[in-house]
């Protein structure tokens, strides 16, 4: 048993597939009743991490502890306290929504009565009552994802793994999913979720860990991350023959440049005052700004900040074939 009060502890996790080093020493902690977002581009190793934590894959080195139980040495104990919702909905097409939930309840070793009651509760809470007696084959993508999540909640597990829970969802279903996740946290569930979007991590998570090429490049609260990355991005398009001059003038403030499109990005607090200061500075130096825009930093900006390269997909395009 591990003595700290973190529900999820990950220690020095490594994993390779043949020659491909996918994880090279992951360290993480998630406190009870909080959300950690594992943020990274396609191929960064998010799914691999989740699969190790949910006992589906053995790590080459290191270990992880769920509620004090080792995923390597006590997989059965771990399985009893986790719920897993994978990247693609894994529900039985030929059964109805209700049958799926009851089956999962019984496989989690609930009594028949409990499995039934929980099934009905979840059907109602996830707005699947009307579809309860239809086979899943007839469900939309959003409905499948909801059923998939409901299935992993049937035994009220204290720990939940969500692998890209909103990828591929339409905006409405996405908002609904966010709402559910927030309520799960209120119900004291500990959640580790993965996402490719900084905005989503910011929205849902207490802490964010950024994964790149199999290691955590930065970890902290969303405020800590923003303090490092800057709250807002001010993007200026400079008249072509003024571009070099602008870069020199802005100096250390520049976080990203694109000479081809004569673009330059600056990290700012996003206040009108700040923006005015920058524009006046340009004006004073007779640099012509053709257009400007303010936007929230993206995963790309975070990557630029910490690795010097953008968040391009890490390996191959294999993910696409799974979709």
């Amino acid at each position: 048993m591990d003595q700290s009060n973190s529900t999820i502890k990950v220690r020095g996790l490594t994993k390779s597939f043949k020659d491909l080093k996918v994880l090279t020493g992951i360290e993480l902690e998630v406190k009870r009743g909080t959300v950690l977002a594992l943020l990274g581009p396609n191929g960064a190793g998010k799914t691999t991490t989740i699969r190790i934590l949910s006992t589906l894959l053995r790590p080459d080195g290191g270990d992880a502890f769920i509620d004090g139980h080792s995923v390597v040495k006590e997989p059965d104990k771990v399985r009893a306290s986790i719920g897993l919702t994978g990247q693609y909905a894994a529900v039985d097409e030929y059964l109805t929504g209700r049958e799926n939930l009851e089956m999962m309840g019984r496989l989690y070793h609930l009594s028949r009565a409990d499995a039934k009651i929980r099934g009905e509760e979840l059907l109602e809470q996830f707005d699947l009552e009307k579809a309860a007696t239809r086979t899943v084959k007839t469900y939309s993508g959003g409905m499948r994802r909801r059923l998939d999540l409901a299935a992993s909640l049937i035994a009220t597990p204290p720990v939940l793994f969500l692998d890209e829970p909103t990828t591929g969802l339409d905006p409405r279903s996405r908002l609904a999913m966010w709402g559910i996740i927030e309520q799960l946290v209120e119900a004291d569930v500990t959640i580790l979720l993965t996402t490719q979007q900084l905005e989503e991590a910011d929205m849902l998570a207490d802490r964010i860990a950024v994964l790149d090429h199999g290691r955590i490049i930065v970890e902290g609260t969303s405020d800590e991350l923003k303090a490092k990355v800057g709250k807002e991005r001010l993007e200026l398009t400079i008249r072509k023959d003024n571009y070099e001059k602008a870069i020199q003038l802005l100096g250390g403030e520049v976080v990203q440049k694109d000479p081809q499109r004569h673009l330059v990005s600056i990290a700012t607090s996003g206040t009108v005052h700040e923006i005015k200061r920058v524009l006046e500075k340009m004006e004073a130096a007779t640099i012509e700004v053709e257009s400007m825009s303010v936007h929230k930093p993206t995963l790309d900006d975070v990557f630029l900040q910490f690795t010097g390269h953008g968040a391009e997909a890490n390996q191959n395009t294999e993910e696409l074939t799974n979709a």
Binding site: R51, L57, L107, H109, S111, Q125
Partner: protein
Amino acid sequence: MKILTYKTRQVKAQEHSSFYWLINDLSVFIERSLKHIFKNKDQLLGLTVQPIMFMMLFRYVFGGAINTGGTTYVNFLVAGILIQSVAFGALTTSLSVATDLQRGIIERFKSLPTVSWGVLMGHVSADLVRNILQSVIMIGVGMLVGFRPTASVTDWFAIAGLILLFTFAISWVAAIMGLVAKTIEAVQWLGFFIIFPFTFASAAFAPTDSMPYALRLFAENQPVTHIIEAVRALMIGTPVGNHIVLSIIWFTGITIIAIPIASYLFRQYSGR
């Protein structure tokens, strides 16, 4: 849009012996696969229409051209077509396993505090039920087109026992094929290449003595021929020889080897 709410009282897993859970988990998986028989239209069609078509095809199209000596062709045919259908029926297990792998359902079951290889047992059990139903349908159709069995009640029980043993063995082999092939397309090819020669290069549709020497050597000594000859002998009273004993040895042996291999492959499976 409805605002989704998540609130719940906590529920707890029950406390029981691990044997209790073994039985619980297996029965959940068996129940699941049995539901598939009736909810999956492909399976229902395969179960009913296909054997009837095969029966008609051989009885009326090829039957006239095949010389079966003293017995009528339809009396000769039923045992062969029965075993052939059962063997192809086992492919449903391969397909179900591959489908579960492709959909990520097996991964999901493996993340549960469950006897997850039970999912294989579920598919194999559904095969047993399906094949019994299918056999009854085929024998019924056979009788409509002139099949006149001479089997006693005990003989019928022996036939049922042999068919169940055969199905059980072949379904575990089919489960292995599903785990190896991993995709539905690959299963179709693999199934064709493995099941086709064993069922057609056998005594299923024609007596082996009309075959060229090499083929005949294979056909007369491979296990599927033994089970066909055994079932045929029990049905219509042709000489039974040692076919029953050899069938039991072969298919018990295959089962004993196939189950550990299937469960090993199942445990080893780790995505893709």
